[in-house]
């Protein structure tokens, strides 16, 4: 089913005309209302009226996570606070999170876009949809929640965790669609096997997975073990949350980008140069309709490729492949974004020292486990076992709080942590995740 065929199946030339019209309007709005954008454009010597075609977008300066940090918390908002009706946030590269705001109309758009994702993934009005994404500041839970309601399906807002309870609800309430991270879906399958629940006892039909990278083989495994059709969807809270792109159940070959609301480019992350369709690079997004927090050429740091093909589903939107890596050091653990710099900062807050540390991520069963190995330097070493354990507990508690995900802290001897030319290797990821697919110039690096 297509939720908004009048938009999703637009002829490409009409779509381009619509994008250009909306882009011009958006640029004028941010130039007039958002000082940091005006400053950047003035510095680059470009005025709103210089944008004479869709391609001219490439002359505009990029927006990055640093812009969020410098304008924390509300400096990038384009409307007065009384127009903002919802705030969400995500992790920043350092202690300060990235804050995003939505107007009433933004929320209406957002719910339509997640409704599109759900419909593309096979959800219909008669479905019972269980959302096992976290609710709260994270955009995953609330984002898809309102999409389900908009479709007219029934939403069960279970939120994340408590797998046995999730299964009890799935069984008793007749859940037909599940929304969560792909690794959590496999964890559910594992618990089902342990507790002797077969897929036949459930009514599950489809699953919509996102918030972390996954592979084609994971899709096949999820589909087989849960007996469902599994589709991917993508979004990031800076841009809006889930609902930027979603896979159709008919093709399951790439995510349709909702181009009437987002203008997408792929660039060479080293040079900033725009790459032709079909080449791998960093995804850059310009929001075309957002009121509260419009973004111009936001660098997502996600590596993907854009390509157009006629799709059996009938949508005319361009497709992006599953993001296959990052241009920065961000890692995603259980759907939560983590930067090594956050760990460093949190450790610094504890004893006034930034000890050497290493982040070790492994997938035990199907759940990610995050360990932080901290060198027991003299400042972190006590002769008393009680004090040593207290310190360990304090570090564990503080890191878990700061990162928003449970962390196991291990104290290690100074020389244990791998160093390359004196610099510590910060992250060891043992999970079998999509490997970075390099484009030509990235290979040269």
């Amino acid at each position: 089913m297509i939720f908004e065929p009048e938009w999703e199946c637009m002829p490409r030339d009409e779509l381009k005309a619509l994008q250009f019209f909306r882009l011009k309007k958006q640029i004028r709005r941010v130039y007039e209302n958002v000082e940091p954008y005006r400053k950047k454009m003035d510095e680059a010597g470009i005025k709103p009226e210089d944008i004479k075609s869709l391609e001219d977008v490439r002359h505009l300066p990029f927006t990055t996570k640093d812009d969020f940090r410098e304008n924390y918390p509300y400096g990038l908002f384009a409307v007065p606070m009384e127009k903002i009706v919802r705030i969400h946030s995500s992790s920043g590269t350092t202690g300060k999170p990235t804050v995003v705001g939505y107007t009433k109309r933004d929320l209406d758009t957002w719910s339509s876009l997640t409704a599109r994702v759900l419909a593309a993934g096979g959800v219909k009005a008669k479905d019972v949809v269980q959302i096992a994404f976290g609710y709260g500041l994270f955009t995953g839970g609330f984002g898809l929640h309102y999409g389900v309601e908009k479709i007219g399906a029934s939403v069960i807002p279970v939120s994340s965790g408590q797998t046995k309870r999730q299964l009890m609800i799935m069984k008793d309430y007749g859940t037909t669609a599940i929304v969560c991270t792909p690794s959590y879906a496999l964890h559910i399958a594992e618990v089902m096997e342990e507790t002797g629940i077969s897929p036949d006892e459930l009514s599950l039909r489809v699953g919509l997975f996102g918030a972390e990278p996954w592979t084609e083989s994971m899709r096949q495994e999820i589909e087989k073990r849960l007996g469902i059709d599994a589709t991917d969807n993508y979004g990031l809270s800076e841009v809006m949350g889930p609902g930027v792109s979603g896979e159709c159940i008919e093709a399951k070959s790439g995510l349709h980008v909702f181009e009437d609301h987002f203008l997408v480019e792929v660039i060479n992350p080293e040079t900033g140069e725009v790459l032709p369709e079909g080449e791998w690079g960093e995804l850059v997004i310009t929001t075309l309709t957002k009121e509260g927090l419009p973004l111009i050429r936001y660098r997502t740091r996600d590596i993907t490729k854009l390509y157009y093909e006629e799709c059996p589903c009938g949508r005319t939107f361009i497709k992006m492949t599953k993001p296959s890596g990052r241009t920065d050091d961000m890692i995603i653990v259980r759907g939560v974004n983590i930067f090594p710099s956050q760990v460093e900062e949190a450790l610094l807050e504890i004893e006034g020292v930034a000890p050497h540390f290493q982040i070790v991520i492994d997938r035990k069963g199907y759940l990610d486990e995050l360990e932080v190995w901290v060198e027991a330097s003299e400042k972190l070493f006590f002769d008393s076992m009680r004090k040593q354990k207290e310190l360990l507990d304090r570090i564990t508690e503080h890191l878990s709080q700061a990162l928003g995900v449970k962390v196991a802290v291990k104290l290690v001897e100074p020389k244990t942590l791998e160093r390359t030319t004196g610099k510590a290797k910060r992250v060891i990821d043992k999970r079998d995740l999509p490997k970075y697919v390099p484009s030509k110039y990235l290979e040269e690096k």
């Binding site: 027991a376 002769d383 354990k389 001897e413 100074p414």
Partner: protein, 143 residues
């Protein structure tokens, strides 16, 4: 009356304790007493050695995290009741032992108890008044 003890942070991995002993041995440092407190993940090795400064230096050079802590050494007769008297005195005076370990002086039929207290000075005072022998550092290092 205080004794300086070397503490070493150890990961619970095979061979780490042996590594410490080897380094000290190669540098001609004698271990007088040793105790290991451990959890499943890590341990704290406590050592009384003849040359603390050198021990600290060579262990640090080998990449270990090393600390020096003050403890006290109490000498008791190596016979039944020797330890009980000391512990009763401490309990009667409300002194909490953070940890302790013991070794025997072969030559003199005496046992040496190493104690760590939060308040060492008070402990020294209490034990001295009870007529219990506290060994000075120099004596312990060279037992």
């Amino acid at each position: 009356m205080k004794v300086e003890q070397i503490s070493v942070f150890l990961e619970n991995k095979a061979g780490r304790l042996a590594e410490v002993a080897k380094i000290l041995g190669e540098n001609g440092i004698n271990i007088r007493a040793l105790s290991l407190a451990d959890t499943t993940d890590f341990g704290i090795l406590r050592l009384i050695v003849d040359d603390r400064a050198k021990a600290k230096e060579v262990l640090k050079q080998a990449g270990f995290t090393v600390g020096i802590t003050e403890v006290i050494a109490v000498e008791v007769d190596d016979q039944p009741g020797g330890l009980a008297k000391v512990l009763t005195t401490l309990a009667d005076n409300g002194l909490n032992v953070e940890y302790m370990y013991a070794f025997v002086e072969k030559s003199r039929d005496k046992a040496v108890l190493i104690f760590k207290f939060e308040n060492l000075d008070k402990a020294i005072d209490v034990l001295t008044k009870a007529g219990i022998t506290i060994l000075p550092g120099e004596k312990v290092y060279n037992l």
